[in-house]
Symmetry: D2
């Protein structure tokens, strides 16, 4: 029975806590949040205690932590948890600064604890099955990857101000997906970006729409298109072209109902947003972490994966700023 | 907190017990099964006790029972649970004999306890959404219903021997679906049936393939086609034609992956069988029961629904035997 | 160069004449129609002459006739063309009376001329491909066939008065399709029918909605559902279940455009009606006739196919009248 | 009756000649080809004469020419036809050199004759309907365009040697599509390209796989991905994201047949290549040209469209060579 302390009792924290409760072989002991009421409420729901960070990390019963607090606290918590010898499940990104990420990774390596970075999409059953087929050679050698990733609606501008920008906050998931599907590390990035949805986004120095190209050393290519607003719902698709064929994984719909009438022939729109679309992925991600920690096997998405995706975001930012392709090695 | 006793610790019993554990507001206290080891194992997994029927029904803490034991025990357990004043969740069918069904219903009515009959497909999100749209008038007045319902593979002949026959064991789900979608009671049934899959089925006096027509008083029509063997998986589709349009609910697939290569362009086959396809339905069905019992509101699929579907099965059997359309009133 | 005389210059006649013009190896010489202006106009468009029947049939250059005039003239024209030694392409049905059909067939056999009956759907690329796969064993032994065939809107009641009724006018296409897909002759028919769309249909003694079951000697089954009104367009689908799998051929759409917005995710509705849906089929049907006549090979859909489908319609009518399954041998 | 002379009797010439024959209101009088046998054969099939260029252009009955000969002859023929006062239907590209294109356009403008450049995909019913919906505001303001365009197989290396390279030969269609869908002129291009399919392609200095980004002045973006080899067939899709929604136009399939069996659930692969996929487009393109010339209305895709797409190809080539985004104005 793996005992957890969880940092963060917000929306994503509530999901992890519920998945923990439903999983076999694990138990939530502590919930820590600066909003004590939120911590207390979530703790009560799952038979845990509302604690402070120190208490939680000092509890010898605790074998693992979930870090689902605000991004700026991740690195400190990773370092503290590593020093306390706990296995770490950390929401992405580890930090918005590569230097801080490196400090966190160094602490994890020094402590020799396992750490999973929350690129939940790798656990989406459709993307995972697509990737499994690539590995089995179903489409031969991968040549091109096309990733469509569009959010249903613009978040509040206050959020954008602290998000680290579209590349580090949103595209980072797609950078990870591109790396995973390409099967070879991108060495160069080129990016276009603009505030097409709302000028308020430009006013805070960010973009809400972008198109990115990536290139690997052997010439494989990937394209990512993002928008912060897709009126029809959360648009999450991956398409991979190989020497022997094409694999696609599309959106998921709430039901299979189709309605044809004098006006139209329509099916359901995609599941609304990440909580709905990736509900299975969050569950399977935590299960994989528990499984790996319990059996001492490697965690499936490690700290280096978090670092690598952030480097691609940095390169994309520089590419957008300078309007030129940027070598990943420039920002390493 | 609604406390349950459950009869039956087999495959379907395990599903109900797990859904109970995951639901809020309910708790499993007793598991009863003639296979004591199975009862003990399931009880242990969910913090319940392995009990005998008498103990379970006499426990004043118990407010509700789940009857998921073999069909021949359903009626007796319904009657006993009703006399004990427990709310009843009973797997379909209540019994294979209309007379026994009537005894069970009489006991339930005398006791004034709520009873849900497990037509789980009504809780399938796709079929439920289709039905919701009918009710909202999306396709006007219902005129024709087409139900496709095909199992992946033939069960063992020993099972067929005690199953009550294809109409009472398999088609009964579709009879319920037809009634629900038609929105008007069928008054007549015509059925063709044959053992096309395996002559061993004919040897036990049963069919493995059938096509049925139903007619309501106002002239609405429904068609059901069944087979005990669909090599590509569990084929479960409903199509409803109304004065203003058509609604269809199709199969669900494990993932959205599509693969195109020199040989073919293929998507995933349907989810394998009822445990996979109706996993959500089982969960939502039990939640609806708990909700209704807890709040004293009507249960969504009652004993009369169980009786009515069985009558259609009886009429179909007589139609097949006599090769003529049979009025439902003949078998009432 | 096969020279044609064509009877009938209406809507369907115009299609055949245009397909003739576009085909290689054939030429239209005469157009005959009681509406002389229509005949003259169509003839002019294709470099033919507007003639009377006698002239057309006496022209020794004419090797083949297309009979696309009103149904009540078909049998007489078939007999006259047969006597004149012309190859015959006759729109369905040959006649509404089996006795007249038999006279026409006798004349054709006596003359030894080829005759194709216009079951155009056999030439629809999708249905033809589906049938081709059945023949190659793709789904093993055929067990069940489900045919959905729904017209976009009710024709004028005046038409219904002379149409011969829904079974002989509309379902007859599906009876032919069922025979073709079953690969074995149906021996019994059961039919439900009603005027659900418009009471005016009942007033002329007809139905606008029906559901039919057919059974072959070895126990294969087919279902047909028809409606005279499908608000979303012409719904033409065939589904065949065999021992090894399932084949389906669905509707065709004008374009592949899909639109997703805040309201819905919709694709195009099916092609509007038979002229649009079966445009390819009409072209391929005539090409197959020209090919067969030119090379002296058998025509693909013969007079007996026309007779057999009509018998199924007769059986269905009697089944509806008497509310009982009717052996096809009763109406032979 | 518009009378045509056609240059080129190869594969694409045969298609234009057949479409001309089937169209109303036009007639083919001359076929010119350096392969005289090919010219004679095609001319005979359509009641035309095999002529030399001078004869054809001097024939006062000729009102229009179709230029479907090899690319290196296009510009000369355009200039000669313009001087002869003929309306011009010219296969793309006008020439591989912008300077030669400008000479051709100057001649056309001086003569005041209409000229259509054969970007046939604009006449594909699906892409045309998609574009029509953009114009009607169905998805609001266009923001991003994604074009997938992949050929079934590598052409012979000899062809690649004279093709002008992937951007000028293949991507040029997609550059035109991007311009058309964006509704605003691209001002900058960035391109990745590689020979991933066959090293022989690199040996002739070309690419067989590429990914391109385009940007307009207002910040709209487009992505194109190309491959010379898609084992599953000709992959031609367009996806447009606007402020109010998404439009997609996908591949077309030969039939709607779907087959489900123990191995897979598969539909037909896309139509094989451009002759099949764009058969309708070629027909509609020529009809639009005849219509415009006959009625003196503007031709739908003019010489400037040909020039503009070629400029984007030039910019892409320079981008690939220099590995930097290239302003279109650099190559104007």
């Amino acid at each position: 029975m793996l005992v957890f302390a969880q940092f963060g009792a917000g929306r994503i924290g509530a999901i992890h806590a519920a998945n923990l409760a439903a999983s076999g072989g694990a138990r939530l002991a502590h919930v820590v949040d600066v909003h004590e009421a939120a911590a207390a409420s979530l703790a009560a729901r799952h038979g845990a205690e509302s604690s402070d960070a120190l208490t939680a990390l000092r509890d010898p019963a605790v074998g693992a932590v979930i870090i689902a607090s605000s991004t700026d606290t991740h690195a400190d918590l990773v370092i503290a948890a590593a020093k306390a010898g706990k296995a770490i499940f950390c929401e992405k990104p580890i930090d918005l600064s590569l230097a801080r990420v490196d400090q966190a990774i160094a602490a994890v390596q020094a402590a020799g604890v396992p750490m999973l970075v929350g690129f939940n999409r790798r656990f989406d059953p459709s993307f995972a099955e697509l990737h499994r087929r690539i590995r089995t050679g179903a489409i031969g050698v991968v040549e091109q990857v096309v990733i469509t990733s569009r959010d249903p609606g613009l978040p509040p501008v206050e959020y954008l101000r602290v998000s680290g920008g579209q590349f580090r906050d949103m595209t980072i998931h797609d950078f990870d997906m591109a790396r995973w599907m390409l099967g070879e590390e991108p060495v160069e990035v080129f990016a276009y970006g603009a505030a097409l949805v709302d000028p308020a986004v430009a006013a805070v120095g960010d973009t809400d729409s972008c198109m990115v190209l990536l290139r690997t050393a052997s010439g494989r290519m990937a394209h990512i298109n993002n928008s912060r607003r897709a009126s029809y719902g959360y648009d999450q698709r991956v398409e991979v072209h190989g020497s022997l064929g094409r694999l696609m994984a599309g959106n998921r719909v709430p039901t299979t109902v189709e309605q044809a009438d004098a006006q139209s022939d329509s099916r359901e729109k995609p599941l609304h947003f990440f909580l709905e679309r990736y509900a299975d992925a969050y569950r399977l991600e935590l299960a994989a972490f528990i499984e790996a920690v319990t059996h001492g096997t490697p965690v499936p998405v490690g700290a280096q994966d978090g670092r690598q995706a952030l480097m691609l975001a940095e390169a994309a930012l520089r590419s957008l700023r300078d309007n030129r392709p940027v070598k990943v090695s420039e920002v390493a």
